[in-house]
Every structure is written in structure tokens, then in C-alpha cells.
Subunit: 338 residues, 2 copies
């Protein structure tokens, strides 16, 4: 497909994002231009607050998935640009509402928008970006894309509410945890990939394969993300370590350690995560328990499992640089765990 991409190793010989960035770089610049242009409003606080979140950057992982999927499908037009921006707007709106919800103080290493502008503004600017996402889809004009992304949006909201219901509940089991991340994270990854096939007008089987890739990749991504909250590596990513712990969020490492712990340990988890009665040293103790019970290792294993499914889902799609890079991207994200 005419893209000369070479495998470039990351600093430690590990997979990196360099290939993906090379593959979709020009398109991503165009997406960023659309994002900047369409977050404008005569209401000054909107571009200020949205700019804080959007320009802080982030990985732009979800729009890159749309771009790469469209390229993999041999798409040659421009529709994927606006739709990738739409995907990022949905994600940004979710982040804004999530920060309000979680009272987070840091996002991507900077003060979160709600800490600077207040919860009120974060909710409303999130609503604005969400609406803008739909305006972009309407301009594109595909009812199929609108169907995919409006469904994804309501599933994401369901996932966020499920997460709220499992928060501070140490009785949460693995199945409930997986339901939450499938809805709140994997659904948008899946939709971002699927619409790449839709704009390229590919058969339903290709759309389904990309949907499956995105969904399984999203699961792996969130598992690693949840793991990293108990990893010193988080600090190098500009995030506070132990955010989930302090909020009493129930993620897979905790689910496993709780199930495998004795009554003393379970009392510890209930005090810290249910009652949010936390003292200095509790996070260290939590990390020690996670390690003792192999909870981190098993979370990585689960991430690998979903990562493998994601890569396998690509098998029926055209071989080439795009497919190879999308497979390596999964490895890159799973390798973040180390």
C-alpha cells in the first residue's frame, strides 16, 4: 500500500510507536488541525478548557486507530480525518466527565481541567465536545458511522456507571471488572477501528475483523493501564501512582489479590478501598500484597491473552506494513507493563 515503514525499536530495544506515527503522521496532523478548528467557540472558556485537555496531547491513540484501519483497508479519500477527530472528541469528553467523576487532580501529568476551571465547566465543555463529535459525523454523512459511534457512546456511559457501582466494592469479581472495561474502553477502540472499514466501503467481514481487533486491543490496553497504577513506571508517564487505590477503584489486580488473600488481608482491602480509610504506607503494603499473590503477573497474562486475540483478528485482513504495524502496536502497549 505504498507506505515504506521500517521497524524502529524503542530506547530499550522494545516496540515503539515510531512506525505507527510514520504510517499515519500526515493524516494525524490533519486530524489535529480539525480538532483545533472545531473546538473553537465564541464562548472563550470553551477553547481555553478544551485546548488544555486536547493540546496537552495525549497519545491520540484512538484517532490513530481510525487512520491506520482506513489505510489498511486501502482507503484513499479524506473522510477518515474528520471521523478520527470525532473519535478523539468523544474520548476527550469522556476524560473531562471522568475527571469530574473521579475528582482526579492530574491528567497526563498536568492539572486536570476540573481542578483549574471547576467541575461545572468540565461537564459543560465535555458536553460541547460530545456534540461537536456528532456534528462532525453528520457532516461526513454516513448513517452507518453515526450508528456505530452513537452506540459506542451509550455503551461507554453504561460502562462508566458500572464502574461507579463497583467502586469501593471489594466483592467485585473478575467478570464484572471485565464487563466494565469492555464497555468503558474496548467499545471506543472497536468503533474507532470499525469506521476505518466503513469509510473504505469494505465488506462486513473486514469491518467485523477490525472491530474485533479494536475491542481486544482495548481490553489489553485497559488491563495494562490499571496495572500501571500500581507500578513505579507510572511516574515516568507523568501520572500519579496509586490514583485508583486512593479512589477505591476496583481493578483486576485488586480483585485477584482480594480473592487470594487471607482474612487479615481482606480486612486491609476493605478498610482502604471500601471505607477509604487510608494511612501512609498503605499503598506500599497494597503493592506488596499484589506482588505476593501474583496479581500483577496474572493481570499481564490476561492483557497478553487479549493482545493475542487482537493480533489474530487481523489475520483475514490484507497483509502489509499497516497490518504489521497494527499488530506491533498491541505488543507495544502490552510491553508498557514492564
Amino acid at each position: 500500500m505504498g507506505v515504506a515503514a521500517t521497524v524502529t525499536d524503542g530506547p530499550k530495544g522494545k516496540p515503539s510507536l515510531v512506525d505507527l506515527t510514520t504510517l499515519v503522521g500526515d493524516d494525524l496532523q490533519a486530524v489535529n488541525a480539525v480538532i483545533i478548528a472545531r473546538m473553537q467557540s465564541p464562548v472563550a472558556m470553551i477553547p481555553q478548557l478544551a485546548g488544555h485537555v486536547v493540546a496537552a496531547g495525549g497519545k491520540r491513540l484512538r484517532p490513530m486507530l481510525t487512520l491506520a484501519s482506513a489505510q489498511l483497508c486501502g482507503y484513499r479519500g479524506r473522510r477518515h480525518i474528520g471521523l478520527a477527530a470525532s473519535v478523539e472528541f468523544i474520548h476527550t469528553a469522556t476524560l473531562l466527565h471522568d475527571d469530574v467523576v473521579d475528582d482526579s487532580e492530574l491528567r497526563r501529568g498536568l492539572a486536570s481541567a476540573n481542578a483549574v476551571w471547576g467541575n461545572k465547566a468540565s461537564v459543560l465543555v465535555g458536553d460541547f465536545l460530545f456534540s461537536r463529535a456528532f456534528e462532525l459525523m453528520v457532516e461526513d454523512g454516513s448513517l452507518e458511522v453515526l450508528r456505530i459511534l452513537s452506540r459506542a457512546s451509550s455503551v461507554i456511559a453504561e460502562g462508566e456507571v458500572m464502574q461507579l457501582m463497583t467502586a469501593n466494592d471489594t466483592g467485585t469479581d473478575e467478570a464484572a471488572y471485565l464487563d466494565v472495561i469492555r464497555a468503558k474502553t474496548a467499545e471506543l477502540f472497536a468503533a474507532a477501528c470499525e469506521i476505518g472499514a466503513v469509510v473504505a466501503d469494505r465488506p462486513a467481514a473486514d469491518a467485523a475483523a477490525l472491530q474485533s481487533y479494536g475491542s481486544n486491543f482495548g481490553m489489553a490496553f485497559q488491563l495494562v493501564d490499571d496495572l500501571l497504577d500500581y507500578s513505579a513506571r507510572q511516574i515516568t508517564l507523568g501520572k500519579t501512582i496509586g490514583d485508583d487505590f486512593r479512589e477505591g477503584k476496583i481493578t483486576l489486580p485488586v480483585v485477584l489479590a482480594y480473592q487470594r488473600g487471607d482474612e487479615d488481608e481482606r480486612r486491609f482491602w476493605r478498610r482502604t478501598l471500601e471505607d477509604l480509610d487510608q494511612a501512609p504506607g498503605d499503598l506500599d503494603h497494597a503493592m506488596e500484597l499484589l506482588k505476593r499473590h501474583g496479581a500483577l503477573a496474572d493481570t499481564v497474562a490476561m492483557a497478553r491473552h487479549y493482545g493475542d486475540l487482537a493480533v489474530q483478528a487481523l489475520a483475514t485482513l490484507p497483509a502489509g506494513a499497516e497490518r504489521r504495524i497494527m499488530a506491533e502496536l498491541v505488543d507495544f502497549c502490552v510491553e508498557r507493563a514492564f
Copy 2:
């Protein structure tokens, strides 16, 4: 158009909603059924919280506008049902986010959802309903309707942010106040009416006339609503009087009284609305000042002005029971002010 509607006076010989309810009653029952069906989710908290807000009822004014507009345009199909439900979902999502924003404790005479379930759940269930609104539009399949309502949604969010920026700012002038209510209220009224013409496949001039009716009606409606927050009649509507005052919201009555007040009075407004330093008796004093400066009377006059524009906008549309009832509805809402 085959609808035999009789003018039925309200209890005190004033206009009532009886005619409108007669006109759209069967359709409204169908809309309510769609609302109940589509707010369901396997995530139990969603129908619980949404049901609290949706079933609490409210006037269903916006979906009734869609139904009446479609009927006025001679529409005979069923598409207006789902779209009216979509309009109500957008409105409900806005209410949920508005309650979070304003820390309201009462909504339609009941505890607001955020007071019962918390801000977190209100934000997320609002997001769910907003997404559901778009799913309903996608099922309808009209890109024109999607264009109108996605645009309305982003304008509403802009209006809510504008309102946030003018809150506690006694320097807000009449023009800024009107910009806020045009965006946060009139836009959805306008869209609700316009889509009635779109489903009926009427010429653009009819859609524009209904859009103008809805927009001007929305202005009148919000002016009266803001007035009522300083009126004892509010209590009979199940709302707390003085909500806006306690939050330091700057509405037209206050804008006028501030501009017309002496330096002592302005100090009073700044202390109570900017510093939110309020003591018992302040609300009474505020109401006394509004009365002294004719601020309430002039707000009613402004509402009448927009109400007249709304009725005039109907002139080019087919005469009949529907048009008469839609005109009377405006009168009913303005008469609420007394």
C-alpha cells in the same frame, strides 16, 4: 386537519394546556412509552436514576412541540414519536448536568437526582441519555434531523458555559443575558419545532417559520421562568423560590434592577450575588428592589414581545386547530407570570 379541539379555559379563565394535551395526547402516550423503553439498561442504576427524572414527569413541553409541529404540517406517519423522545432525552440530559452544575436540591418539586445518587451518577446517566437521543435519531435515519439536533446540542452547551461565565457577575448586561437564554433554552425549542416540518417533508419556508416560532417561544418561556424565581407563585409549582438568587445567577430582573439601582443597592447586589454573602431577609429585599424598579414588569413585557414574535411566525403556516393551539400555548406560558 381533523382534530376537533375546543378551547378550554384554565381554572381562573386563563389559557390552559388542555387543548394542547388533547391535540397531541395519543402521540404523547406513545412518546412516553418510547422514553420508558429506551432509558432501560442492564446497568440498574441507569433506569433508576433516569426514571426518577423522566417519570417525575415535567411538562414534556419540548416533545409536545415536535408532535404539534408535525401535526400542523399535516404529517401522518410515526417518525415524530421517536424524534420527540429524542428531544426529551436531550432535555433530560441537560437537566441532569445542570443540576450537577448548580448544586440544585430540588427539581420539579422532588429531590434532584444528584442529591440522591450523587454528582457522579448524574453526569454519567446524562451522558447515557444524550447518547440514546442520538441512537434514536440514527434509527430514524434523517441526516437533516441529526444536523439540526447535533447543532442544537452544541449551542446548548455553549449557552450553559456562557451562563457559567455570567454567574455572579452583576456587570452582565441585557444583551449577554439574552445570548445565554437564546442558546441554552430557545435553541432546543426551535429545533423541536423545526424537525416537525422536516419529518412532514415540508418546504424550507415552513421549517424556518416553525424554527422561528420555537426560538421566540423559548425566549418568552425562559424570561418567564427567570421571573418566577422571584415570585411567590413558584411555590405552587413545586419549586423553591429564590434558587437563582441563592446561586448568584444573573437573570434579566436582576440586570434591570442593578442598572437602575443607586450605589447602596448595587452594593447589596454585589454582596448577595457576587460574594454570595446572604443573610435572612436578603431575598425579600431583593424582591422589593425588583418591584421598586419595575424590573419584573419589564421582564414580562420582554416575554410578551418574544411571545408576539412567536405567534406572528405562525402566520404563513396552515390555519386550523393546531396553529391556534400553538399560539395559545405561548399565551399560556406568558400568563404563568401572573
